[in-house]
Subunit: 118 residues, 2 copies
Amino acid sequence: MVQCHQTQFDASFGALSDATRRGVLEHLGREDASITTLAERFHMTLTGMKKHVGVLVQAGFVTTEKVGRVRTCRLGVRGLEEEAEWIERYRRLWTERFDELDQVVEELKQKERANGRK
Amino acid sequence: MVQCHQTQFDASFGALSDATRRGVLEHLGREDASITTLAERFHMTLTGMKKHVGVLVQAGFVTTEKVGRVRTCRLGVRGLEEEAEWIERYRRLWTERFDELDQVVEELKQKERANGRK
DNA sequence: ATGACACTGAACCATATGGTTCAGTGTATA
DNA sequence: TATACACTGAACCATATGGTTCAGTGTCAT
């Protein structure tokens, strides 16, 4: 369950680690867009935006289709389910870890009270 | 609500985009560890592992404390709450988007049935 | 006090990333 | 048919990333 998705997570978290790409996802969440539209929206050359879109496609977040001379980008079917799962798993890890810590702190307090009474 | 966390997300998703670092988080979720332990565990030089830990510290996922000659790494207090939130928000976006799509498909089917009856 | 141990920092290396320009190709439109 | 438009690909650039080696510094154990 751990080794099977490594390279996929590398790609998807990598794709999410750039503000422009997160912005593109947000835009595509509202409406489909051509490369030109996205390039203008994010103050970037066509070529630059095409690279970002390429990364998002590679990660499976976006699909594109070219009709005539314009390539339209839209959200891919893959979504963020697996990333959400991964993150959730680690959130649980964190919580457990700090519940343990709380216990330790609680024990320390008890000891202190005991010492205070001495 | 969008621009305020950009660089933080850059750092945190960037930190998660590497298999070794995800592995380190998993390890620290089970137990604290020294740099040496982690380096051995992931077949890497001390220096290399120290860099990875640095990235995780920078992202706020890990804290370290040096006592004597060993630096112990543990999960930081920050956790993954905000990343979980972000991802959740986009999961909703996706869902809405594909619900719309489903509607369109549904309408197409209806039209087709109508044409079939012609 | 000596040696081993755990880390640290600088320097280096190859490759990846985020961007650009420039020179195309193919498509729509006047 | 000529022109403008949307994209594509190659080449380039600066910086970041993921790793290494090597030469320390400080700490523990004999």
